[in-house]
Amino acid sequence: MKLFYFAWLRARVGCAEEEVALPPQVYDVAGLLDWLRARSDRHAEALRNLGLVRVAVNQDYVGLAHPVREGDEVAIFPPVTGG
């Protein structure tokens, strides 16, 4: 699975993108975020406050219960501030 990070989440995680192999027990966004938090201290710190984290799966905004599967493009970022 391809992961993208943007804005301060990218800075805190320390990379703009990473390729991960999804373990079988991870099947939704909430599970993915839990699993990522255990990946490193940087991930744990970046994803500490879920109130500040937005997720897109295959370029659509989704909630924590949305399914994720191998091959998805998942982006994790703070609330948007364009315009």
């Binding site: 943007f6 897109a56 970022f77 703070p78 609330p79 948007v80 501030t81 364009g82 315009g83």
Partner: protein, 153 residues
């Protein structure tokens, strides 16, 4: 039409192109967003915009399609820049053209309000104290809500 680009745009030329050869259009409403030199009491010397290539274009196209669905528009335009900008620089141009002003004005307002909460852009400000990410504002969410139908079909 939507465009995401690093370079500046010529407002006059863009609006000219939007209405060219369509004499049904009786009014064009436009909004231009500019970089301010102050934020939260601090001087801002630059604003750097980052976006999510692919999803940005997709979301802007959805927003434009939604405007066409809601109002009888002859044309709509969204141009959004990314990269490093300085105070006074143009960030975004939104325009809507219609036979009558009501639809053009409302659609233009809708486009910028929805864009602010839907399009995946993030701003970082350069201030004397250093670089900092702009936080999302509750007012922008409230502005978006204004356009949410009370009865979802």
């Amino acid at each position: 039409m939507i465009r995401v680009q690093c370079e500046d745009f010529d407002v006059g030329a863009e609006l000219e192109r939007l209405t060219a050869d369509n004499h049904r259009i009786g009014g064009v409403a436009s909004f231009i967003g500019l970089v301010r030199d102050m934020a939260g009491g601090d001087r801002v010397s630059a604003l750097t915009l980052e976006h999510y290539p692919g999803m940005t274009e997709r979301k802007l196209a959805e927003i434009e399609a939604e405007a066409h669905r809601r109002w009888p528009l002859d044309a709509a335009l969204v141009i959004h820049r990314y990269g490093r900008l300085e105070p006074g620089d143009r960030i975004v141009l939104v325009a809507a053209a219609s036979p009558h002003r009501e639809a053009a004005l409302a659609a233009c307002h809708f486009l910028i309000d929805w864009l602010k909460t839907e399009a995946p852009f993030w701003k970082s400000e350069t201030t004397p104290a250093g670089e900092r990410w702009v936080e999302a504002r509750a007012e922008d969410d409230a502005a978006r809500e204004r356009w949410t139908p009370t009865l979802e079909v």
